[in-house]
Amino acid sequence: MKTPDIMIGLEVHIQLDTKTKLFCSCSTKAHAPNTSVCPVCLGHPGSKPVLNKKTVEFGVMLGLALNCDILPAINFSRKTYFYPDMSKNYQITQYEVPLAQKGKIALDSGKEISISRLHLEEDPASLEHKDEFSLVDYNRSGIPLIELVTEPVMNTPDEAREFMKKLLGILRYLKIFDMTEGTVKADANVSIKESNFSRVEIKNITGFREIERAIEYEVQRQREAVKKNEKIVRETRGWDAPQGITRPQRLKETEEDYGYIFDPDLVTISITAAFKKSVAEKLPELPVKKSARFVKQFKIDAVDSQVISADPEVAAMFEEVAKKANPILSAHWIRRELLKILSTKSLAESKITSQHLAELFILIDKKAITQRTGQEIMQKLGEKPFSPKDFVEKHGLSAVADSHELEKLCADAVKENPSAVKDYLAGEEKAFNFLVGKVMAKTKGRARPDIITPIIKKLVKK
């Protein structure tokens, strides 16, 4: 196999959407600083952690969704280091035995990205730097995280972005991650052939678009450094998103020494076959499978299918609509027009129902309204939903198919725009579109272009 030019591995931290924290019963949803804290997540002497079992279920769910092996028994360990955001100066994590290992995510190209392990751990508190002080907010202390580690098998920044996007899609399906409030952070290790793959770790990248940017920057930085005969040192760098650069944080000549020991306050948790089975039975159909089924069942475009399947709500909506309207047309419109609306709000927030969409798509499919009217109605639906059928009737928006009326309107347009006619006859295609546009304006967009085009053509050739 050819040596790749770039090697990228990711370490992703996903906040789990549980009601309570990993080791105490504090809420995970507090906003005002230090309002969701207790002796356990503050690390008070005498307090003891008690595992939130829901997190194990969520972890097993993700492990199964990523085709991982689930370990039969898991332990927690203490990772000791001193930092002001750490309430105990050790983090409870899994070290010796993770929750799951050896999984994968397939990219659209078919390439499989291997996942070496995923484990549960607690989030530290968050720090806020104010003037010369740093303030600590312990609301985040003890929030459950899943750390997922990939093999360094991604070879382009784009692959890393796609991996993250696929992962987020899966999380969305599993409903174990809060898409609006939760955060997904990643550390990326990036190395290039020119430096003999000397590994640099970039810390703290939030969001999948940032991943691509950060890695792109880092590859470029390393290449330029090599060109200047600089040595790429093993180090940790931080991603400065506003500046769009990575900055050195610390040299990494040896492995960090966290002095791991088993956390003796916690007991071994058995993951029984019966438990795994019960979780597996609850797993939803995941994007890759769903997309393939849509293509097979509804004969829709493969890319439309992939895009629609990435979001469970949208996919469910498509499936409803496809029962009533032409699936191919529905998929096409959902991907292009509905998703435009959903860039600013969720499907639930938009209150658009499958009935609304089905009515609209049937009208378009029957050519009862023009594409343009269809787009306009879709936009209005995004603002406040209504019955497209009633709307079209009420506002007289059905496509003008009366050829007599259309011929008259076309003739008027030609008569009123002699210069456009002249330009068209001189070979300017744009001028023809101008005339079509004029007719459209007269009909408020209701004229079907496939009908008026030949009429105008006939008129200007006379």
Binding site: G43, P45, S47, V136, D257, G259, Y260, I261
Partner: protein
């Protein structure tokens, strides 16, 4: 007056509990002035209603008592006032106990004599001879249990022998239950996989009474056992007939005071006369490796437990200046005592990458082997008997001459059952040079009842 008598008198009305409590507090102040058994004391007599209403209970400083400064004997926790009661304390309080105060201990439990107290703390004095140590680390608990003229049980804690050692040195009963028998919730940890909470009192009966009250599963401690709690009080009168006592060879050999060994042998003969059988038994693995295994595991865990004490959130603070590293280094340097520093260094070394496999992981494997050795022994015998401590309580001068290693060796006979999480009891059995001697009995996991049967028989004979 034992607990049973106190409670029945209080019920009959021949004791006015309120009056009694005030007297207790007065006596306590007097004792403390002279012997330094308490790090914190109740300001006024306070107790609730319940089946032990007004019963005086003291709490080792490492157990959290809501609203009462709890420092585990360390200057670094000065000012820490817990927001909650330890489960053991809560269970006593729920039934009406009068919580007297926080008893003195070695800093975080790091010692066998209660001479390693935290910076600024007073060393408790032996109730029989003030020139001698109380034993540790629950020295204040044992000293007070001996000295108090009022009915009283001390809630103590043992990691490597900290309940039975001071009990033996002070001439009282110390009962250390099976690991997980009593919830550790609210315990300021020394080594979580070894820490156990148990009572110290003047009689076996009193320890049985309180253990029955505090034992049992607690959802707030994942390592607490769901095993059913026996009736320890009814076990007291069950006798020892037909039970086999294994006489531990290593308990009577090198390093053990012969005069003291003689007292213990006499006590075993007494049990024989009450119907017990005896057998000789040897635990070679235990005697060879338990100390090493114990000190590696205990210090490794302790070094992570103590990491949180950094001058933020609670306890000792210093003026803010410099970086976080400089700040917490100053707080720790100033406020931790030398033995705490030594154990942090030892423990951190034992779990460092590259050494962890050699020390920390290996010590864990050795512990498993030692548990196996005990388990095999309990197929042949019901109890294992030895002296609790190899010597009588030493004088302060004698202690000063000991190296840290010699001090660690004092735990020779107590560390085995602690490492294996086995229940054990120390019962006073005579004296040498006027100083008390303790008989240590060890039983199989969750067989506290048998210890109470044996201890009860001996006590009543």
């Amino acid at each position: 007056m034992n607990i049973r008598e106190f409670l029945s008198n209080a019920k009959k009305g021949s004791i006015d509990v309120k009056e009694h409590s005030a007297k207790v507090l007065q006596e306590l102040k007097k004792i403390n002035k002279e012997y330094f058994y308490l790090n914190a004391m109740a300001e006024s007599p306070g107790f609730g209603r319940g089946k032990i209403s007004g019963l005086p209970i003291s709490v080792k400083d490492c157990l959290c008592v809501k609203g009462m400064e709890s420092t585990a004997g360390s200057a670094i926790l000065k000012g820490y006032v817990p927001l909650f009661d330890a489960t053991a304390v809560e269970r006593c309080r729920k039934d009406g106990a009068f919580i007297l105060g926080k008893t003195a201990q070695d800093e975080f439990g790091f010692g066998s004599f209660n001479a390693n107290v935290g910076n600024g703390f007073k060393i408790p004095l032996n109730p029989i001879d003030k020139n001698r140590v109380c034993g540790g680390s629950s020295g204040g608990a044992a000293g007070l249990a001996k000295k108090a003229s009022f009915p009283h049980v001390a809630l103590a804690e043992s990691t490597g022998g900290s309940i039975v050692a001071p009990a033996a040195f002070c001439g009282v009963v110390g009962m250390c239950p099976t690991y997980g028998r009593v919830s550790r919730y609210g315990l300021i940890d020394y080594a979580n996989s070894l820490d156990k909470i148990g009572p110290i009192a003047q009689s076996v009966e009193d320890t049985a009474f309180i253990l029955e009250l505090i034992a049992g599963h607690d959802i707030k401690d994942s390592t607490s056992s769901t095993e059913k709690v026996d009736s320890y009080i009814s076990a007291l009168s069950k006798g020892i007939k037909g039970k086999t006592i294994g006489i531990l060879e290593e308990g009577f050999g090198e390093g053990v005071d012969p005069a003291l060994a003689k007292r213990v042998k006499d006590a075993i003969s007494k049990l024989e006369s009450l119907g017990a059988k005896t057998a000789r038994i040897s635990l070679p693995l235990n005697s060879k490796y338990s100390l090493e295994s114990y000190y590696v595991l205990a210090t490794a865990e302790a070094s992570t437990n103590l990491a949180k004490y950094c001058g933020m959130r609670y306890g000792a603070h210093e003026n803010l200046h410099g970086s976080f590293n400089e700040y917490f280094t100053e707080v720790r340097s100033k406020n931790l005592g030398p033995e705490a520093k030594r154990r942090i260094l030892l423990g951190t070394f034992a779990r460092m990458a590259g050494y962890s496999a050699k020390f920390y992981s290996k010590a864990g494997k050795v512990r498993t082997l030692i548990i196996d050795e005990y388990k095999k022994a309990f197929k042949k015998v019901d109890l294992i008997a030895s002296p609790t401590m190899p010597i009588i309580a030493p004088t302060f001068d004698e202690v000063k001459k000991l190296t840290p290693l010699q001090q660690y060796k004092m735990d020779l006979l107590t560390v085995g059952p602690n490492l294996a999480g086995l229940p054990h009891i120390s019962v006073p059995c005579g004296d040498v040079k006027g100083m008390p001697v303790g008989l240590q009995l060890i039983a199989d996991h969750f067989n506290e009842s048998l210890l109470f049967s044996a201890g009860g028989s001996y006590e009543n004979s």
